[in-house]
C-alpha cells in the first residue's frame, strides 16, 4: 500500500490497482466509458484523463498506476474542456436510440452530457447508414451506436470465440462478424454486457408476449435461478438483493396465469444428470461427462469441437425440461390444451433464446419454451407497466409446480450444477445417508476449479469451469483428466450472463452468487431428490424410461456456421 493524493484527498492505495479504480473506491468520480475491469484497458474514449504533479501532459487513469507520493488532479480546466469535446465527438458517432437501449436510465454518456451541459448533436451523425446485424435471433448488433472502443472484440476473444473482428475499410475501421467459416457466434452475450454504448443488445420478444396475453392465451412464466438476485438492480436495489416473491408478484401483474421457478427444472435435471453420471462412471464410457445446461457451451462444442458431442450429458436444460413438463404434465392436470399454453422463460442469458428455438427439443410438435426474456427485458416490461420491484408486495409460487430445492437455486452460479449433481449422486449411492451437503470446493469464480469427491469406492474427478476459453483449454490440453466437468460460458456462471443487468463486474457477480448460496443455506430442502414436487412428478408422470426419454433427454448435432 502506498500514499497518494487525488483532488486533495489523501488516500492509501493498492499499487496494483489503476488510478481510475482507486478513485472509484474512494468516491471520486473520474468519468470513463470504455474502461471495464474484465478487459485490458483500451485507452480509447479519452474521458478519464488526469494530471500528475511533476509530469508533463495528461494521462489516462484507467492505465496509469500510482506511485508513492503521487499527487493527482482529475478536474483541471483543461481536463474538463477536453472531456466535453471528446464526449461530443463520441455522440457524433453514436446514434441515440435511448428508449430501447440496455443502458437507458443508467447511461453514462447521457449522465455526463447533462452534468456538463453539452449539446449531444452538435455534429451530424456520422454513422446514420451503418448496418445492423442479427446473431441467431438472440443478439442484435447495431453498428450505428458503436463508439469504437472495441471492448466487444476483446471480450469475444477473451471468451475464446474471436467471432467479432476489426475490419479496416476506407477511412474508418468497423467491427464486423467474422467471415471465417471456422468462426461463429455462440450467443453468450458477453458483448452485450461489456459494451458501454448499447451497441449490442438482446432480441426482445416482449411485444409478442404482450400480444399473447391480450389474445387470452394461457401464458405461463418460468424464471431462472439467477435472476432472483440480480433483477433488483434494475430498480436501484442493492447488489445481491433477493426478490424471488416480488418477481412472481410482478409477473402476475403483467397478466401471466402462472409463475413457476426454473429451479424446479434444475432439480429434475440434477436427478437425470446424476443418473447419467453414475452410469457413465460405472461403464467407464463417454467420460468425462460435460454438463449441457449452458446453450452457448453446447453450441461451442457442436461448432468448434464436435468430437466432444458424445461427452455432453444428454439431459435437457432446466428451462426446456420444465417447459416440457408444463406443456404435458401440468396441462394434463389442469385440463388445458397444450396448444393454448405459451411458456415464457426469464433467463439471465441471450443464448437461451437460441436454445428455445432448437427444432429437436419440440414435444408433440410444440416448442417447450415459446419466448425467452432476459433479466433486463423483464425489468423493462415491469417499468413499462409501472411495476416497481423494490416496492411491490411478494407472492408465492403457484402450486403443482411450486417447490424447488436449494440445489436448484445454486444452478445460477458457477459450480452450482456440479454441486447439486454431486449431492444427488451421494444421496443415491450412499442410500440417503449423507453427511456433507456443502461442496465449497466448487464455489467461487476462478476460471477452472478442480476437486475430487469419493463416494464409497468411486472417486470422481471434477472440474468446474466458467468462461469458454477455460473450457477450450481443458478440451485442448487435458481432455481426459476429469470424469465430470461443469461448464458455464459466462464469467461466474449465469450470475454473469449476457442477459443480466448492466453494469457487471467481478464484485457484482460475486454478490449475486453469494445471495444464491444464502438462499440454499436457508432452505430446508437442499437435495433435488427430497423435493416433494419432484417426487410427485416422478410418481405420477415420469414413470417409465420412454416418457423420461421423451421429456428429459435430447441429442446434439455437429453445427455449420450460422452467422
Amino acid at each position: 500500500m502506498i500514499n497518494i493524493e487525488i483532488d486533495g484527498k489523501k488516500i492509501i492505495a493498492d499499487e496494483k490497482k489503476n488510478i481510475l479504480e482507486i478513485a472509484i473506491e474512494n468516491n471520486i468520480d473520474i468519468p470513463s466509458l470504455c474502461y471495464h475491469p474484465d478487459i485490458y484497458p483500451k485507452e480509447a474514449c479519452r474521458l478519464c484523463m488526469i494530471e500528475i504533479e511533476g509530469k508533463r501532459g495528461l494521462f489516462t487513469s484507467c492505465s496509469t498506476y500510482p506511485e508513492e507520493g503521487m499527487i493527482i488532479r482529475t478536474n483541471s480546466e483543461e481536463i474538463l474542456k477536453t472531456r466535453k469535446t471528446n464526449l461530443k465527438l463520441m455522440f457524433s458517432q453514436h446514434i441515440e436510440k435511448c428508449n430501447t437501449c440496455l443502458w437507458n436510465n443508467k447511461c453514462k454518456m447521457m449522465k455526463y452530457a447533462k452534468e456538463w451541459g453539452i449539446c449531444i448533436n452538435e455534429w451530424e451523425d456520422r454513422k446514420k447508414d451503418y448496418p445492423k446485424y442479427d446473431f441467431g435471433g438472440a443478439i442484435t448488433y447495431d453498428s450505428s451506436k458503436c463508439i469504437n472502443c472495441s471492448n466487444c472484440v476483446d471480450i469475444c476473444k477473451n471468451q475464446g470465440i474471436d467471432f467479432l473482428e476489426i475490419e479496416n475499410k476506407g477511412s474508418f475501421y468497423s467491427i464486423i462478424p467474422s467471415k471465417n467459416k471456422n468462426k461463429d457466434c455462440v450467443y453468450c452475450g458477453q458483448c452485450v454486457v461489456h459494451c458501454p454504448s448499447g451497441t449490442f443488445s438482446s432480441v426482445d420478444p416482449s411485444l409478442k408476449i404482450e400480444e399473447e396475453i391480450e389474445n387470452n392465451k394461457y401464458v405461463v412464466f418460468q424464471f431462472a435461478p439467477s435472476i432472483r438476485t440480480s433483477i433488483g438492480e434494475e430498480f436501484n436495489m442493492e447488489y445481491g438483493s433477493v426478490v424471488t416473491e416480488k418477481i412472481i408478484a410482478g409477473i402476475k401483474k403483467l397478466g401471466a396465469k402462472k409463475v413457476f421457478d426454473v429451479s424446479l427444472g434444475a432439480d429434475l435435471v440434477t436427478i437425470e444428470e446424476a443418473n447419467e453420471l453414475i452410469e457413465r462412471l460405472q461403464t467407464k464410457k463417454r467420460l468425462p461427462m460435460f454438463t449441457s445446461c449452458c446453450p452457448a457451451w453446447v453450441k461451442f462444442v457442436e461448432f468448434y469441437k464436435p468430437d466432444f458431442i458424445p461427452n455432453l450429458t444428454e439431459v435437457k436444460s432446466p428451462q426446456i425440461l420444465l417447459g416440457g413438463i408444463i406443456k404435458t404434465y401440468f396441462a394434463e392436470k389442469e385440463n388445458i390444451d397444450p396448444k393454448n399454453i405459451i411458456v415464457v422463460s426469464v433467463m439471465p442469458c441471450t443464448s437461451k433464446k437460441y436454445e428455445a428455438n432448437r427444432e429437436e427439443l419440440k414435444i408433440n410438435g410444440l416448442k417447450c419454451v415459446d419466448y425467452v426474456l432476459t433479466t433486463h427485458e423483464l425489468a423493462r416490461m415491469f417499468i413499462k407497466n409501472n411495476i416497481d420491484i423494490s416496492k411491490i408486495e411478494g407472492e408465492n409460487k403457484d402450486e403443482l409446480l411450486g417447490i424447488a430445492s436449494g440445489a436448484g437455486v445454486i444452478f445460477g452460479s458457477s459450480g452450482g450444477v456440479a454441486e447439486s449433481a454431486i449431492r444427488t449422486a451421494c444421496y443415491k449411492l450412499l442410500n440417503k445417508k449423507i453427511d456433507k451437503i456443502d461442496f465449497k470446493e466448487f464455489r467461487g469464480h476462478e476460471g477452472i476449479k478442480e476437486a475430487s469427491v469419493k463416494i464409497n469406492d468411486i472417486e470422481i474427478k471434477i472440474a468446474v469451469v466458467n468462461g469458454l476459453i477455460n473450457a477450450k483449454k481443458i478440451l485442448e490440453d487435458y481432455p481426459k483428466k476429469f470424469d465430470y466437468v461443469e461448464v458455464m460460458s459466462c464469467p461466474g456462471g449465469c450470475v454473469g450472463g449476457g442477459g443480466q443487468p448492466v453494469p457487471v463486474n467481478k464484485n457484482i457477480r460475486k454478490k449475486r452468487a453469494d445471495s444464491l448460496y444464502q438462499i440454499d443455506q436457508n432452505e430446508n430442502i437442499r437435495i433435488a431428490d427430497e423435493n416433494p414436487t419432484v417426487q410427485s412428478i416422478y410418481k405420477e408422470f415420469l414413470k417409465d424410461k420412454r416418457v423420461i426419454n421423451k421429456i428429459a433427454y435430447t441429442k446434439f448435432f455437429k453445427k455449420q456456421k450460422e452467422n
Binding site: 480509447a44 479519452r46 469535446t85 471528446n86 465527438l89 463520441m90 469504437n148 477511412s171
Partner: protein, 324 residues
C-alpha cells in the same frame, strides 16, 4: 565491437531520421543493455508521410549501404534477427534489391500509422497496426516482448557511413512545390530553410511560405522564420501565396483521416470533423480550436498530438493574416 559502434554513433551525434530525431546511440545502447534471450532489429521503410519519398530514393540508390547498416546492428547485438518493413510500393520495387539471407522482408499496407514503431511491431506479431502504450519502449520490450531496435532507412544508411568513417553530418532533404523543380538532396544537417532553398535553386522569386518537417505533419513557416533549420523528416514544401491553402489543408486532413489508427476518440472523430469543416470551406475557429486542444492533450500517440500543428500554423500565419 559493440562499444565501438555505439561510441561512434555517439560522437557522430546521429539522430533518428524517421522524424522524431531521437539520438540513435541511446536506442542501440538500450537494446544492448536490456537482458533478453532474443533481440530484434527492424529497418523501417514504411515511409508513410504525405508526399515524402526520401527513403525511396535511398533504397533506389544506396540499398547496399542500408543493408550494411543493418548488418552492423546484427553484428553488434547478440542473438538478433533483422527485418525490413516495407510499404506495398517499396516492397514490390525493392524486394529483389534487398534480398539477403540474414534479413527478412515484410510487406505492409497499414498507411501512415503503420510506420509508427510499436504499431509496426504489432503488425509483425499478427495484431492490428496500432501504437502501443509507452513505456515500456520498444528498445526494452518490443517485438514478441524482446528488445527491438527500430531505425529508419536513412538512419541505417548513415550507420554504415559512420562505420566507414564517411559521415560528415549530412542528411537527406526533400523539397517540393507547384512552382519549383524540387528533388531530393543530401546536404548538411542543421541548414536553414533559406540556405537549403537557395543552395538547391528552389527559392521562389515571389512571396511564398513553406511547410517544413513532414508532408502532412510539418509546420507552416513564413519568410520571417526561414532562418530556422528543418527538422523532422527533412521535408520542405514551397507554397506560393497564389495557391489555395484550403486544398492543401484538405489533402492533409484526408491523409490523416485515412492514416490514423482510429483507436482513440479525438484522432478518429476529431480529425474527421476537421476534414468536414475544411471541405465545406468554412472554418469555425472556436470549434476547430476546441478539437485541436483535445487532439493535442488527449490523443493516445504522437500522431494525434501532432495533428493540430500544420492546421494551426497555416490558419494563423497565412489564412487569418491575409484577412487582416
Amino acid at each position: 565491437m559493440e562499444r565501438d559502434i555505439i561510441q561512434k554513433l555517439k560522437i557522430a551525434d546521429l539522430r533518428g531520421r524517421g522524424g522524431a530525431g531521437f539520438p540513435t546511440y541511446l536506442k542501440w545502447e538500450s537494446v544492448l543493455k536490456t537482458n533478453a534471450p532474443k533481440k530484434y532489429i527492424i529497418c523501417n521503410a514504411a515511409e508513410g508521410e504525405l508526399d515524402l519519398k526520401k527513403d525511396k530514393y535511398i533504397l533506389e540508390h544506396y540499398s547496399k549501404d542500408v543493408i550494411s547498416g543493418i548488418k552492423i546492428a546484427l553484428k553488434a547485438i547478440d542473438n538478433s534477427s533483422a527485418y525490413i518493413y516495407l510499404n506495398k510500393e517499396y516492397y514490390s520495387l525493392f524486394k529483389d534489391k534487398l534480398k539477403d539471407e540474414n534479413i527478412v522482408l515484410i510487406e505492409e499496407d497499414n498507411g501512415y500509422i503503420g510506420g509508427e514503431e510499436s504499431a509496426l511491431i504489432n503488425f509483425i506479431e499478427g495484431k492490428r497496426a496500432e501504437p502501443r502504450k509507452k513505456p515500456p519502449f520498444v528498445s526494452e520490450k518490443g517485438l514478441f516482448n524482446m528488445p527491438t531496435l527500430v531505425n529508419n532507412v536513412e538512419t541505417f544508411y548513415y550507420v554504415s557511413k559512420i562505420e566507414k568513417g564517411e559521415y560528415d553530418n549530412e542528411r537527406f532533404y526533400m523539397i517540393m512545390g507547384e512552382k519549383i523543380k524540387g528533388g531530393i538532396y543530401e546536404l548538411k544537417e542543421g541548414m536553414t530553410i533559406r540556405e537549403i532553398l537557395k543552395n538547391t535553386k528552389n527559392y521562389l522569386d515571389r512571396p511564398f511560405y513553406v511547410q517544413a518537417g513532414g508532408g502532412a505533419c510539418g509546420e507552416i513557416m513564413t519568410e520571417d522564420e526561414f532562418d530556422k533549420p528543418v527538422l523532422g523528416e527533412g521535408f520542405i514544401r514551397v507554397i506560393s501565396y497564389e495557391e489555395d491553402p484550403y486544398s492543401l489543408m484538405e489533402r492533409w486532413a484526408e491523409f490523416l483521416v485515412n492514416g490514423n489508427c482510429d483507436k482513440c476518440t479525438p484522432c478518429r472523430e476529431g480529425t474527421y470533423r476537421i476534414l468536414e469543416m475544411i471541405k465545406g470551406r468554412k472554418l469555425d475557429i472556436d470549434k476547430l480550436e476546441e478539437i485541436f486542444l483535445t487532439l493535442e492533450k488527449t490523443s493516445f500517440c504522437a500522431l494525434g498530438k501532432g495533428t493540430p500543428i500544420p492546421f494551426r500554423s497555416l490558419i494563423k500565419k497565412v489564412i487569418l493574416k491575409n484577412h487582416d
